[in-house]
Amino acid sequence: MSGCNEIGLMLGAFEDGELEPHEMQEVAFHLARCQACTAEISGIATIGRELRAIAPAPSLAGFAAKVKTRIDNLPAPLTARISRSISRRFGAIGSGLAWGGAIAAVAAMATLLMTPYAERFTNQYNNAAPTVAMLAHDAARVPDEIAKVLPEAIPADDRATLAGDSQAVILRLESEIPSVAVWNEPRTGTPVIWVPDQQQPQL
């Protein structure tokens, strides 16, 4: 059985109904035979009553209106501004669809802007080993060299055109020196080696 000191710590929580059921029972048993603790708990209840009696009740007239005025004067968050703008423009479509469109547009724009940089970055790291024997001082013979690696089946005129085709897509660089390129010619699927004539590597 607990004594007054131990029960005293629980009296407030007992009065507040915040004890576990077995603790509530323990305190109740103690109070039934202890006048001091009964007086103590009565004092706790009195404090509560007195505090409620002296608690001021501030007037809330106009409070919500003041808050609303302050909120209405806040700069709108970016997301809300975008949402409102989209709603105005695409009200009938629905903001979900409009948001989807906006996100797709941003993604497409980012892809367009980033692709050249991404390719350059990829090529820089994918082609560390120089595998092309052709050097820049051979640049004068480039069309001939390219023509050599093109299939014999391609007519001579076409081979000359392909060797000088600046529209072909470069797949990878085969040298650390960014002066030699290898690509697949899109029409024939033929690998093409190309050395730009404006670059002269230091040998």
Binding site: E18, L51, R52, A55, F63, K66, K68, R84
Partner: protein, 192 residues
């Protein structure tokens, strides 16, 4: 303690609308919780004008930070926590000073026992109120907040714990201390 899972649909919808910038929806939430939020601020700063200012600031901050509110917790407790933090910061910054102006000052003067007409009972009641107020002023804002949130605002221990961001055990020990301190004062008055 209010279970967030039981947060009614109406409130969830109001919060969602307020999140997208609907100040009318937020206004409904302000009307719903203004009294309690002012009460929480009052519990700490113990000054009506400051409490009203802090409560306004609480709602503005809540509106600005609605995106950070996670519906796992109760919206009301989230609001009370903002109010308590602002009020405790304010109290620490401004120090404790109670300056009564205008009507408040007149009310306080009116409460003082007058040598002519007041009965002994009325005078001792006024003295009790005055002493209680003084005792509340002497408590730390944390102790004062705990006892006023419990006794005046009727918050549960769990709600107080979440509002003041302290363990439930701390709530219990602060309440025990604050009540003991106030009991001493009441006892003194009873003996005099």
């Amino acid at each position: 303690m209010k279970n967030p899972a039981r947060q009614n649909g109406d409130e969830a919808e109001l919060i969602e609308r307020a999140r997208s910038g609907d100040s009318e929806a937020f206004g409904v939430l302000v009307e719903r919780y203004q009294r309690r939020v002012v009460g929480v601020a009052m519990a700490v700063v113990h000054n009506e004008d400051d409490a009203l200012e802090l409560a306004q600031e609480t709602f503005v901050r809540a509106f600005e930070n609605l995106s950070k509110f996670e519906s796992r917790s109760s919206f009301s407790t989230w609001l009370y926590r903002i109010a308590a933090n602002l009020a405790i910061d304010f109290w620490r910054r401004e120090g404790r000073r109670t300056v009564l102006h205008g009507e408040d000052a007149e009310i306080e003067i009116g409460r003082m026992p007058s040598p002519q007409g007041d009965s002994f009972k009325a005078a001792s009641r006024t003295e009790l109120s005055g002493r209680l107020k003084q005792a509340l002023e002497e408590l730390t804002p944390e102790h004062r907040a705990v006892i006023l949130l419990r006794e005046v605002e009727g918050l549960s221990y769990d709600e107080i714990s979440e509002t003041l961001q302290c363990p439930r055990g701390t709530v219990m020990s602060r309440l025990h201390y604050a009540r003991g301190r106030l009991r001493e004062i009441l006892k003194d008055i009873g003996e005099n």
